[in-house]
Symmetry: C2
Subunit: 340 residues, 2 copies
């Protein structure tokens, strides 16, 4: 019973047909006669045959899988994107190979490796720090960026980062804040820069000043948000509200600020970016910008499948909308309440 795994030959033999017929029964059942089709199917059932994907792929000159290059797999930020990718690739019969770019020494080299390794029919890059030149590989598979990447004309899925930042400023300004600070991601990062740009534009639109000393650099982590809070607490002249470029930083920020005896939002208003699950469980609940990460993954996978199907290296891009979510961490500034 548990002999070796059956091959297409075994099925052909037991069904009394040729291997071609077995293959056809599997791929285009309509072109084989009903009688033979049934014979083949029962032979398949009898032998427990499963097609050998490797052989099939070799013959068809494809791999049946897609590689997603993640900068840092340990970062939960990416899990929802992976879920989105998986939800469209699996039904389309593609495997999802994940690779961590930054675990090795040279991320660019890793990218080059996967680009030329022929291990996948397409790549999805979540890492915006890779150098564009690597993509000049001849005969490379199609690539979709699932994040912003300056100076690249690859098909991509991006989020309205600048607009989200503007919405945050707008909300705070609408509440009466005129002294608004910002905690950025790491400088040079595309998300950082686009959100900073939106922040700046939002201030300008409301005629508010951009105070350089109120713009603190973080790196999207809770730790850096906590550090920003300590810097904030040391300021002689503090902003009444802060927009932080990630919810994680907002969590770290609020933790330190509350530990120091300040109240959010009574003493300082806080707006984050992302709408991580935790945002609605904090005290106070975090006002933030939602970016639908599952959607990012789905869209990236759809774009890539489009490229693969049409054997193209370029194609449409997609921009994912963000949504402002007002919760309890932003309120009118203290001065307004005093006046009231």
């Amino acid at each position: 019973m548990d002999r070796k795994i059956a091959t297409i030959q075994d099925v052909a033999r037991t069904a009394g047909v040729s291997t071609a017929t077995v293959s056809r029964t599997l791929s285009k059942p309509s072109v084989v006669a009903p009688a033979t089709r049934e014979a083949v199917q029962s032979a398949i059932a009898e032998t427990g045959y499963r097609v050998n994907a490797t052989a099939s792929n070799l013959r068809r000159q494809r791999t049946g899988s897609v590689i997603v290059l993640v900068p840092n797999l340990a970062n939960p930020f990416f899990s929802q994107i992976l879920a989105g990718l998986s939800s469209v690739l699996t039904p389309a019969q593609y495997g999802l190979l994940v690779a961590d770019t930054q675990s090795g020494p040279d991320p660019d080299e890793r990218l080059a490796h996967y680009l030329t390794s022929g291990q996948a029919d397409g790549l999805i890059l979540l890492d915006g720090t890779l150098s564009p030149e690597v993509l000049r590989t001849p005969g490379r598979p199609p690539v979709v960026m699932a994040c912003e990447w300056m100076g690249s004309d690859l098909p991509s899925v991006t989020v309205e980062n600048a607009r989200g930042a503007e919405m945050a400023v707008d909300h705070l300004a609408g509440l009466g804040h005129r002294a608004i600070g910002h905690v950025t991601g790491p400088r040079g990062n595309v998300l950082t820069e686009t959100r900073l740009e939106g922040f700046t534009r939002g201030l300008a639109a409301r005629g508010l000043p951009l105070r350089e000393d109120w713009v603190l650099e973080g790196d999207f982590t809770m730790d850096s948000g906590a550090a920003a809070a300590r810097a904030f607490l040391r300021m002689a002249d503090r902003p009444s509200a802060l927009f932080l470029s990630s919810d994680e930083m907002a969590v770290g920020f609020m933790g330190v600020v509350q530990a120091a005896g300040l109240r959010v939002p009574q003493d300082v208003s806080v707006v984050g970016f992302d709408n991580i699950e935790m945002a609605q469980h904090l005290t106070p609940r975090l006002t933030t910008i939602r970016q639908p990460r599952t959607r990012i993954g789905e869209s990236a996978a759809e774009l890539l499948l489009g490229l693969i199907d049409t054997a193209a290296l370029t194609g449409p891009s997609d921009v994912i909308e963000v949504e402002f979510i007002a919760r309890g961490s932003a309120a009118p500034p203290p001065s307004d309440r005093n006046l009231g």
Copy 2:
């Protein structure tokens, strides 16, 4: 320049040797003469040759990849495990295919599919709810469980869940608590049951009563922790401390309880399980049990590679130690302070 991708034939031709020699140069360089070796190497460089993994795999009767079955990819719980897996599989030249079990209709069928699909040299299961019978597939690849699974003798990587729960109780009892409640995960889940068992044992060891009405059912999510908090608030006779089976639930719990005006730990002590990154950024910082998830992934990958290398279906298992982390969310009960 950007002709088609070079094959081993092209390299053989430009180097003036046979394909066998090219293959040997790549796999066992020591057995080819230095002169030929160099000729082959420069031919490889010249042609930009990359071995076709599919063809190689077909010939060698392997796939070069490992499938990890994740119950829910969107759950960030798994991202660190994936990082651990990747960090050992990648250097070992194995691809990491991820598949979401619960996205489709029938998880068991998905497992059966991957077990027989021949798409991987081994499987890693993170889903403890799959039925053991599926594993009776003849000719299946080796499987490692990276979570507890009742009634299975597969090689596995498990965490000292019961012991972690005992440590939590012990800490609370040591602080003077005699009224300790528990919020479980979903009943039937192995993590839930083992932690509940540890909780019960811990109480017994300290001679404390197990009050059924102080044991609330959750499902590991923040939402369920919040729900547990509402139930807690409605209690006429409340425990002075709670051990929650996940940090997420502790976050949800503390949010609601604090919003209701109770102070943690002054009015109620809280201990979680996991040590998620956020634990140290909460106010107060969360006392919890650390389970090293990256280590779980690394260990699972190592065990699986061992099985693959020895062509075995059974092998050693690994138990990962947990660590108690005392922070600010647990303190002596109010009664003790009154007495003090």
